[in-house]
């Protein structure tokens, strides 16, 4: 009896336990899949919704075939022309070519592959990733060591830097000013882009993702013309904001957002950049895409043209004359071009020897699936999907790259100490911007907008870019780290090269520009302005200055002395921006973002800051959870050891403890493109007052004298490099 009761009780307990177990799993799933995303959206003040695109149109079978004919016409014609004999009457030949090019065999051979795939699968409308994934659900990739793997395509892409542009993983060559390698410790934070050249830095892509600007071009008598602007123009997510969810340790990007991924901007040969503009729907602002079937049918292998739709922006710049994407600014709400090049080293057949040789980006940046390597050396804090994969000149050119010149051996001798770019990027484009004042905007009459004022632009060696020792490491604010091979203590770029402009020409230009600005902004004290712009350390108080020197010596020397350094060219950049002075350290203070529309339309930079920091996500940044989650760590890398101060700098719509400053040092951006066949002549450096400041690079006075005067060994030096090249 007793025995039976126990049995029954046991069975009931089991049923109950199983039910509880199943229920808890269900509840957790429900919370994770439904409640968490909603709570997260609410917390960061962002929304998601199904995304639609007007260019995604269904074609009738007839229209499809017409399009197929049109897209393949040129290749069919070319193929037929190679077959039809040339020794005949031109008219007869033309007739035969036309006959042949319309035969099924020629069509089969020359049609873009996806025409047939779509025809066979009955696809008559392109609907974004959904369409691609029908066939490409998985992707077979090859690793650098030759092994293969099969990955989930969408997952591969969604976790790539191209989609989320940050990472919580290690692999950064960036060192905090506190001396720690970024994300090398236990506390990893989502970081991946501090864009020194931009006023909407890093995670502030939240506040500047997509904007519509009411411009008033003077040529149109002040009529309003809407223009598109924002970080989203160069990112492949089509959502209302960046992939914010990817910054959290749990959760995923909502499916709606994944459906917004623009596969075609990278994969279509004929993507219509005129479809890239900001649209406004009931949810808000987002970037339109070319989702036409026409574009989808031209999907082929990636080439430089596809990469350069976005990447010429950061190399040649928006206003570079061979920037193809910048020729198609949009059917409506045309994109605004950014004046002043970020690097001024274009990759195009006109200005780069590798592009001229027909090389593709992926010849050097060899991808593994959707992960594309940047190379092991990186001075700026930019996430790298394949941090251990080399992208180097030497991997093709060997360590003895010069073959043609009489001086080939001597030139090769330089490889131990100089990067190839040091000689083979003789200049950057003239619109390369060095000093940019975001605080005092200037009216651009042609575009009808207020723009940041470029105080100094130059593409010249020693002016627009400088030479620094570099071992592949960089600081949190993009300063190249490295040291003279003798590990002398004389080399201290953070107190010298990047913290001080001594060139009298530059100082004079800055003064002229400041005087010009004063007409518009009478409060400017020209002398003080020039000092702050050219000696940014003058903005630090004595304690911070001492702290800075100590931190450089104690925290950064290990990262500087690592490995073998070589001299590289670095584009210099500094900007005057609004800073949250509650969070100031020896290397700078937290910069504040601008609202694009307010800035461009009114030129009132302070008002633009107020609008931008009112964004919910910036408010969250100034709260305890965000502080604990990442900002304390972020600040430590920034060189501020006592944590992030959550003193929100906007009270009653007034900026509190916010000041306009130049960053305390210039950023140094690597330049690796725009490679010229003919490098610098010897005399460019090996002469007194050459482009390279040997003393600042840490050479002893005797060695400087030797380096500056080498015509005792090489009397014919001046003409030595004339026959250079490879």
């Amino acid at each position: 009896m007793n025995h039976l009761l126990i049995k029954k009780w046991w069975a009931l307990t089991m049923v109950r336990r199983i039910t509880i177990g199943v229920m808890s799993v269900l509840v957790v799933t429900l919370i994770y899949k439904v409640l968490y995303p909603l709570a997260f959206e609410f917390y960061v003040g962002k929304t998601n919704a199904p995304l639609t695109y007007s260019s995604s149109q269904e074609l009738t079978p007839e229209a499809f075939e017409l399009l197929a004919q049109e897209l393949s016409r040129e290749t069919r014609q070319q193929q037929a022309a190679t077959i039809v004999a040339t020794d005949q009457d031109p008219f007869a030949r033309q007739v035969k070519i036309e006959l042949l090019m319309n035969t099924p065999s020629v069509i089969k051979d020359s049609e873009p592959a996806h025409i047939r795939y779509f025809r066979d699968a009955g696809i008559r409308r392109y609907e974004g990733p959904k369409t691609c994934l029908q066939c490409h659900a998985t992707i077979r990739i090859q690793h650098g060591d030759g092994t293969h793997a099969t990955l989930d395509t969408l997952n591969d892409l969604v976790n790539s830097v191209h989609f989320k542009f940050q990472t919580e993983a290690g692999g950064f060559s960036t060192y905090g000013y506190d001396g720690r390698q970024v994300n090398s410790g236990a506390h990893k934070i989502p970081v991946g882009k501090i864009n020194r050249a931009c006023g909407i830095p890093g995670s502030f892509s939240w506040t500047g993702w997509a904007a519509l600007i009411a411009s008033r071009p003077e040529a149109q008598q002040d009529a309003i013309r809407l223009r598109s602007e924002g970080c989203g123009q160069c990112h492949i997510g089509g959502n209302y904001q960046p992939a914010t969810e990817k910054m959290m340790p749990i959760g995923d990007v909502p499916n709606d957002a994944k459906e917004g991924i623009d596969c075609l901007i990278c994969h279509a040969t004929e993507y219509d950049m005129n479809q890239r503009y900001v649209i406004k729907d009931h949810q808000g602002l987002r970037w339109n895409q070319d989702r036409s079937l026409r574009s989808a049918l031209t999907v082929g292998t990636i080439d430089s043209d596809t990469c350069l739709r976005c990447h010429q922006h950061n190399m040649g710049g928006d206003t570079y004359q061979h920037n193809v994407a910048a020729q198609s600014l949009g059917y409506i709400n045309q994109r605004l071009l950014h004046h002043g090049a970020k690097r001024g080293n274009p990759f195009s057949p006109q200005d780069d020897v590798h592009a001229a040789a027909g090389m593709e980006c992926t010849d050097c940046h060899v991808p593994e699936g959707h992960r594309i390597p940047r190379g092991r050396k990186g001075v700026d804090l930019v996430a790298n999907d394949l941090p251990n994969k080399e992208v180097t000149c030497e991997s093709c050119h060997t360590s003895a790259p010069h073959h043609q010149s009489r001086d080939k051996a001597l030139l090769n001798g330089h490889v131990a100490r100089l990067a190839c770019e040091t000689c083979h990027i003789k200049e950057l484009t003239a619109d390369n911007v060095v000093l940019r004042d975001w605080v005092h905007s200037t009216w651009n009459a042609k575009e009808g907008i207020f723009e940041p004022t470029d105080i100094y632009r130059s593409g010249a060696a020693g002016k627009g870019f400088t030479f620094l020792w570099f071992n592949g490491n960089g600081t949190f604010l993009a300063n190249a780290l490295g040291n003279h091979p003798d590990k002398t203590l004389n080399y201290n770029p953070l107190m010298q090269q990047v913290a001080r402009i001594t060139d009298p020409d530059i100082i004079a230009t800055v003064r002229t520009k400041a005087t010009e600005l004063k007409q518009q902004y009478p409060e400017i004290d020209v002398d003080a302005y020039v000092t702050a712009a050219t000696e940014p350390l003058s903005q630090l108080n004595p304690e911070l200055l001492v702290q800075r020197e100590v931190m450089i010596a104690t925290n950064l020397s290990a990262a500087m002395n690592q490995g073998e350094s070589r001299i590289y060219p670095f584009k210099l950049f500094n900007a005057m921006m609004y800073e949250d002075m509650s969070n100031q350290g020896a290397f700078g203070a937290m910069i504040l973002p601008f609202d694009y529309a307010r800035y461009y339309e009114t030129g009132d930079s302070a008002a633009a800051v107020k609008v931008a920091i009112a964004d919910p996500i910036i408010q969250r940044m100034y709260q305890e959870p965000f502080k604990r989650y990442m900002m304390d760590e972020f600040m430590a890398y920034f060189g501020i050891m006592d944590g992030w101060k959550t003193i929100y700098p906007l009270v009653n719509n007034q900026l509190v403890n916010v000041e306009a400053h130049w960053m305390r040092q210039m950023g140094t951006l690597m330049v690796n493109h725009g490679i010229q066949r003919q490098g610098h002549a010897c005399i460019a450096c090996h002469a007194p007052n050459g482009i390279m400041n040997f003393a600042q690079l840490g050479y002893s006075p005797e060695r400087v004298a030797e380096l500056e005067q080498i015509d005792d060994i090489v009397p014919s030096l001046n003409s030595a490099a004339q026959s250079d090249g490879q």
Partner: protein, 296 residues
């Protein structure tokens, strides 16, 4: 081969004419560049012109001025083709030294041995440009030092041969315990003729066919090896460690060679003694059993 090209090209670039005051530093301003090199138009291989300052100053030639070997007009850049092609004569220079005649192993002997060597007599195109520098880089060569471990000496020595003889591994497939041999014996120990006890290992490198294939030549009491590497070793070890340590930590243990008569006798005695004990024990038990049987 590569070495040769390298040295022919590199060597003459090293000096300036006697009329200018020349220091090695002047040469090293260019030749001290680690990547001073070019790709040879015929072979496509990288010809290294770098002279490592530390290596040369620690080499047997460390005290020489570059111009002592490289005499010619090096004032001009690029150096004249004529000076670049001038070859160096090691033997001539070494024989001009004051103590040349007193040397235990004269350079004329080396020269004569080398002339018979397979490196000099081979008809292979690869051997056509062989010379002293093919093996002895004058800018880093130094004799093995007392204190270098035997393994290091052997490794460095053999590495030199392997730089050209890439097929050595395949060709020595017949050799039992090949890797062990290569760790403990120099290529030269088999590939040179046996010389008398006073003579150093010959420069007369033998062809594969003429080389020693007889295991017993080494693995015997009268081992050839004792005249070679291990001779130097024994002498140096005794000098630095004393004979007792040398006997105990003898690195030169070779099966069949390192025999000690005392040890042999001792071992025999132990074996004999063991057998005797066993026998005595057996007899004891037999007798004890017999006694038990009798009692019953």
């Amino acid at each position: 081969m590569l070495f040769l090209i390298l040295l022919l090209m590199a060597a003459p670039l090293l000096a300036e004419p006697p009329e200018t005051v020349t220091t090695n530093a002047a040469c090293l301003r260019c030749h001290g560049m680690k990547t001073l090199a070019y790709r040879h138009p015929q072979t496509g291989k990288i010809v290294d012109l770098f002279i490592e300052q530390f290596a040369i100053s620690h080499s047997v030639h460390g005290k020489l001025a570059c111009t002592e070997c490289h005499d010619g007009d090096f004032a001009h850049y690029p150096h004249h083709a004529e000076t670049q092609q001038r070859s160096l004569s090691c033997v001539e220079c070494h024989e001009q030294q004051d103590d040349a005649a007193k040397r235990h192993y004269r350079f004329t002997t080396i020269d004569a041995e080398y002339a018979k060597s397979i490196h000099a007599t081979s008809a292979e195109t690869e051997a056509a440009t062989f010379n002293c520098h093919s093996c002895h880089d004058p800018h880093r060569f130094h004799a093995s030092q007392i204190g270098d471990s035997l393994a290091t000496i052997i490794h460095n020595d053999n590495a030199l041969c392997f730089t050209c003889h890439e097929q050595a591994r395949i060709k020595h497939a017949w050799l039992p315990n090949r890797e062990r041999h290569w760790e403990t014996v120099r290529c030269l120990d088999c590939h040179t003729p046996v010389t008398n006890a006073e003579q150093a290992v010959s420069h007369h490198i033998l062809s594969a066919a003429d080389s020693n294939h007889d295991c017993v030549n080494c693995h015997s009491k009268n081992s050839q090896l004792l005249n070679r590497l291990y001779r130097y070793r024994a002498a140096s070890d005794v000098a630095s460690q004393g004979w007792l340590n040398t006997a105990i930590f003898n690195e030169a243990y070779v099966v069949g060679m390192s025999r000690s008569a005392v040890l042999d006798r001792l071992a025999l005695a132990i074996i004999g003694l063991t057998l005797l004990i066993l026998l005595a024990h057996g007899i004891g038990r037999y007798r004890a059993q017999q006694r038990l049987l009798r009692k019953q």
